[in-house]
């Protein structure tokens, strides 16, 4: 039951199962064998609510389950022993999971995220226990270094090296911070990990704190994620009650307390120094580095900041060994990565794949290809800091180096699939709009530069593009990248640069021909009604908010171009395809 599952009515389904199981007069012995419990995100969000039924060694999965279907599933399957065939998942379900490798997500969707015993039953907290009892901190750091894991928040800094720097930083008081300020639009990996298995994040923090010799931890999490916050709070109090957090944890001479800090909504707070300012209660504005947080961070003390996914990987690496982890992925990008696969794809959802897998495998095999038989145009990765990979580069390997070479980044894990109906200039404008409004305003290149970029793109989309606009965008972008204070500004031009690189013709069509090939940009479109096709049903006339459409019964309707605000309402409601956009 991830966010999508809850949105699709997961809670009602769970309640219905509880009710149906207790109310059918099923014998006591069956009752004991039957338990319904909630789990985190199962991944294939598009088919929510998914219900897995485990009997003996076999698993049956139902898709699109609604509360009113539960009674029949219980009666026919659980009581009668015959699954309800027409509601079972189809072949796409197996295909969705076949090429995935689950490490971080291995227990997400398998265990009840609100019970510490469920995590312990699958080996949870054993890694932390073992490390604290019989490893030297240096050994932990060496193990993490050998695993090759790099920061999963986007920048890809080697985690083991970061811990080593933190360990060596002089100072009595040190902090470990979990960065759960997932701000990329179109990304929900960290939320899914916390909601599905918050204990793994805490265990990762315990191991990290021990390696650094830090006795204070913070989780900086968005207030917009109420369920994740709740589950994290519950997990911390359960771990404290068990003696895994607090004084002398696991009976060793080591103290660790973890506090939760709620973010207040600012994308820039994903940047380390801004995040630190925000935990301290100030405006989340970044500062110049060095000094790096690892030497002077929270309250001027050495601070190591790791992303949620990175930390949640740690217990699994310790438990199964660095060699096992490093066996996945490529030479420089080891292990697996979680992506939120969304956009114009048949099977959107949460996926975990080995680094180095090709984009084609992700889009075609796991995602099932493009929906509605449309053509793939590009894949956007890395959100507002990333770029677009065009359809002809589908055989690109997904790892830090290959994506960077192609002008994008792995980023935190948003992967948005775009088809022929998407306008690349509009997509670039969308991301610049986002970074411009999220710019903290401290440094001029980012504050003013992103504003000028946005104005230029808006002009182009309105049909007022000038012949040298592409060069202006490129020049300004280079300046912003080179001179901005933090990562937000340094990467803000990436969506523009990568779309110019691969879709220059679309920019030129907007600027020179005043046309939007994908028919998205309002300012470049005119709506008209085909006399031949119009059935004079009046649907568009009623839908038009500006009274631009006139017509009587049995006479084709007309659009008054002077009154038309180009909202597209008529286009959406017409069932006969008689409204044309050009």
């Amino acid at each position: 039951m991830g966010p999508a599952g809850i949105a699709a009515g997961g809670k009602h389904v769970l309640e219905s199962f509880k009710e149906a199981l207790s109310g059918t007069g099923i014998t006591a012995s069956l009752k004991e064998n039957c338990s319904s419990h909630q789990v985190g995100c199962l991944g294939l969000c598009a088919r929510d609510v998914l219900v897995e039924i485990h009997q003996g060694g076999t698993k049956t999965v139902y898709q699109y389950v609604k509360a009113d279907m539960v009674r029949r599933i219980v009666d026919e399957h659980l009581v009668g022993g015959t699954p309800v065939k027409e509601w079972l998942v189809d072949g796409a379900y197996d295909a969705f999971y076949k090429k995935q490798v689950k490490v971080v997500l291995s227990d997400v969707g398998r265990i009840d995220p609100e019970e510490i015993s469920a995590y312990e039953a699958v080996g949870g907290y054993e890694a932390a226990k073992e490390v604290l009892h019989s490893w030297y901190p240096e050994e932990v750091i060496e193990e993490i270094k050998m695993s090759g894991i790099r920061g999963r928040g986007g920048a890809g800094f080697p985690t083991g090296l970061k811990w080593e720097l933190g360990r060596k930083a002089p100072g009595e008081t040190k902090y470990i911070v979990c960065n759960a300020d997932e701000g990329d639009p179109g990304a929900f990996m960290d939320r899914a990990v916390i909601e599905g298995n918050a204990h793994a994040v805490i265990e990762g923090m315990i191991i990290g704190a021990y390696a650094l010799c830090a006795h204070h931890g913070y989780v900086y999490i968005r207030a917009e994620y109420p369920l994740a916050v709740e589950r994290l709070k519950r997990a911390i109090s359960q771990a404290t009650a068990k003696g895994y957090l607090g004084k002398k944890i696991f009976g060793c001479d080591f103290d660790l307390e973890i506090k939760i800090k709620l973010g207040a909504g600012a994308f820039v707070c994903g940047e380390e120094t801004a995040l630190i300012a925000s935990i301290e209660g100030q405006r989340g504005q970044p500062r110049a580095k060095p000094p790096f947080p690892v030497n002077k961070g929270l309250w001027q003390k050495p601070t190591v900041i790791n992303n949620v996914e990175t930390l949640a990987n740690i217990p699994y690496i310790i438990r199964r060994g660095c060699a096992w982890y490093a066996s996945y992925g490529t030479e420089k990008s080891r292990g697996t990565k979680v992506f939120a696969l969304t956009g114009k794809i048949k099977n959107p959802g949460l996926i975990e794949v080995p680094m180095g897998i090709t984009l084609r495998e992700i889009i075609e095999d796991i995602g099932g290809g493009i929906e509605n038989g449309k053509q793939l145009k590009a894949v956007q990765t890395g959100g507002p800091s990333g770029g677009c990979i065009p359809a002809n580069k589908l055989d690109l390997n997904v790892d830090y180096e290959s994506l960077a070479k192609a002008g994008s980044i792995v980023g935190s894990g948003g992967m948005i699939v775009l088809d022929e109906d998407d306008c690349m200039v509009n997509v670039a404008k969308y991301f610049v709009q986002f970074t411009q409004s999220e710019s903290c305003g401290k440094c001029v290149p980012c504050r003013v530069g992103t504003k000028r970029l946005l104005e230029t793109l808006e002009r182009i989309c309105k049909g007022h593009g000038r012949s040298n606009d592409i060069e202006r965008l490129e020049k300004l972008s280079a300046g912003i990248k080179a001179t901005s204070l933090c990562g937000l500004g340094q990467t803000a031009p990436n969506p523009i640069l990568s779309t110019i690189r691969y879709f220059r013709d679309e920019f030129e069509a907007h600027i020179r021909d005043k046309k939007c090939p994908a028919k998205v940009c309002k300012g470049l479109l005119t709506y008209s009604i085909s006399e031949k096709k119009c059935k004079a049903c009046g649907a568009c006339l009623r839908a038009c908010p500006s009274g631009a459409i006139t017509g009587e019964k049995k006479t084709p309707h007309k659009i008054d171009q002077a009154k038309c605000i180009k909202c597209g309402s008529c286009f959406e409601v017409c069932k006969f395809g008689s409204v044309e956009r050009n």
């Binding site: 207040a264 908010p545 909202c567």
Partner: protein, 152 residues
Amino acid sequence: MNDTLDKIVADYRDNGGNVISLLQETQEAFGYIPREAVDYFSAQLGIAPSRFYGVATFYSQFRLNPTGKNKIIACCGTACHVRGAERILSGIKRELSLAEEEETTQDKEFTVEKVACLGFCSFAPVVLINGEVHGKTNADPILKEIRKLKNK
């Protein structure tokens, strides 16, 4: 009101002077950050009001005006954007006669908020109406829902 504010001031002193936590508590109590509250904090703690406003206006979570009775949240994350979130949002604003920058209707019946991402990406485009998720939607059903609320 003063009892609540006193408690918030006491909490502020206890937790080492964190302005964000103070504002979060204030918003939880009143639904927004009232001007009187800031004046009160300023007088009690000897901190200039600009410090509070500086933090409050920096973060998108804080609002300086009360919200309307019905709350509509339109997700404009990337997945929703490519599936027509803009059209839905502008449709909602037109229906409620809100200018582009306005969020709350004059009769205080509706507040329309645009957010960067709700994380329901596989149900894009998504609109929350009073906490209820409407996914894989378009302008038509959303406007119908709003008209229903209007007539209540």
